[in-house]
Symmetry: C2
Subunit: 116 residues, 2 copies
Amino acid sequence: MLNHGDSADNLPGAAQLFSALGDPVRLAIVARLCKDGPLPTIELKQCAEGVSRQGVTKHLHVLEDVGLVDSDRIGRDRQWRLRAQQLAIVRTYLDWISAQWDQRLERLTEFVENDA
Amino acid sequence: MLNHGDSADNLPGAAQLFSALGDPVRLAIVARLCKDGPLPTIELKQCAEGVSRQGVTKHLHVLEDVGLVDSDRIGRDRQWRLRAQQLAIVRTYLDWISAQWDQRLERLTEFVENDA
DNA sequence: TTCATGGGCAACCTCCTGGTTGCTCGTTTG
DNA sequence: CAAACGAGCAACCAGGAGGTTGCCCATGAA
């Protein structure tokens, strides 16, 4: 799993996560799972306009591979559940990047002020 | 540009952004630009281990297409600059999703407590 | 028990992506 | 000026991603 000690080291892992979220169908699935909790494949299929069941299943496996989602077989169905910690990693990465940006702006402001 | 009135409508746009960030080279470029401000192509090339100049240029164009970055020609060089607003959109989208998650957890907790 | 439904697996196809090379052009710089 | 450097453009290539179909299995409901 992703070691999140220092976000800078985590670039490849973060890229994986971004990549997994970088498809409209997958993003819709994640959003749906976020809103309406664990759901069976068939239900998730509805947020993929005009995509076959197998297509949706493939997307779900992509999400599973990066740990954004996991599942249990319940009788005939397979229930999918969001793993919020992984989403948190993405957020943290963006926050880390943004923080660097903010620091740079601060330094820049300082510089300008000292310069004036 | 991306209308950010309601994050739910914004799914395709958000997916574009995630997708653009979903490549290690591109993510490294964004991180670098965030840390060290506007930089010429050649400098950015350094964060793409073993990729040709043209390769890097292609990545930069991908970032440009989704508005994460823009550039000016300065004499012989081309200077690249981060567009932080677009990064903010990604963050906001994640926050929006997470908020829904949190609400669901609240509702769930309520339900369990009322049930007990 | 029978049949419909949700799912898994595998093969297959197409198109996009990430990457390259080769060539030319303009700008610096020695 | 001449050479070197940064960049743009176009062609090209291999592999992967997203999608489909067909077939079979198990479970649930009639």
